[in-house]
Amino acid sequence: MSEVVSALAGARASGMVELADAGATGMITLRGDHALLGAAVQAVLGLAMPEVRRVVAGEGAQVLWMSPDELLVITGYDVAPGLAADLQSALGDAFATVAVVSDARALIRLSGAQARDVLAKLCPVDFADFPVGALRRTRAAQVAAAVWRTSDSDWSLICFRSVAGYVWEALVTVAQPGGEVALYR
């Protein structure tokens, strides 16, 4: 068995905010009709279906609304294959897809009072109206990303593994001390 290495290998940085690679994280993509997916998520994870552009967080798993026919489950790296198998059997022969994509993306955590300022430097998003539990798929600098708010000062960002280094360096650069913009207070 090969050793699991996250794209950013546990990188950490400190500046206007604390940045941290979340390390190896389990991710499961579900595609199909949301009514079908919602029933499977409820049965296997015991979590409600997230509303449009929302995240439902439970113990050991988060369910992210990604598009009108897609959900992403964030969970532990080791338990992802088992959960995916359970979700697949809950869905049965229904027209839906379950795929373990844990190694496809990088998950970066941002924490600090200025997290919104840092994100707003890279994403064309108005973060003034962004409650806890909301999710937004957008671009970070020049690549696709999704950000969601886990608490008042904690944010998560996912991007594809191939561009993780780019996104990380962009975040570290815009979060350097001295770059405060105080856009959001």
């Binding site: 449009v52 552009r53 990604m66 598009s67 009108p68 064309p124 798929r137 957008t138």
Partner: protein, 106 residues
Amino acid sequence: MLLLTCPCCGVTAEETEFANGGEAHLKRFGPGSDDADYEAYMFARKNPRGVHFERWRHIYGCGKWFLMARCTMTLEVFGTYRAQTSEPPAEIVAKIKARRPEWEGF
């Protein structure tokens, strides 16, 4: 800069989050159709000065295609609507008529 609202996920974002997909409501003429029809389907585009219907994709967001009516002169966006339709919905047509009474219609 256009500000578009994706009818699939409800996000309002600037145009850099979207990708343009050319003219909307084209009728396809495939193999076996008349040469003139096929040529018109392949190459002839309206390119109007004024009201225009376009296909757009929310490429950095939910990834879905949708349609939009806008003015090519003023860049005013009249509205966006779902792609699963062969002609603009009545409320979009009404909005355009209200803003451009001289518009000849779809």
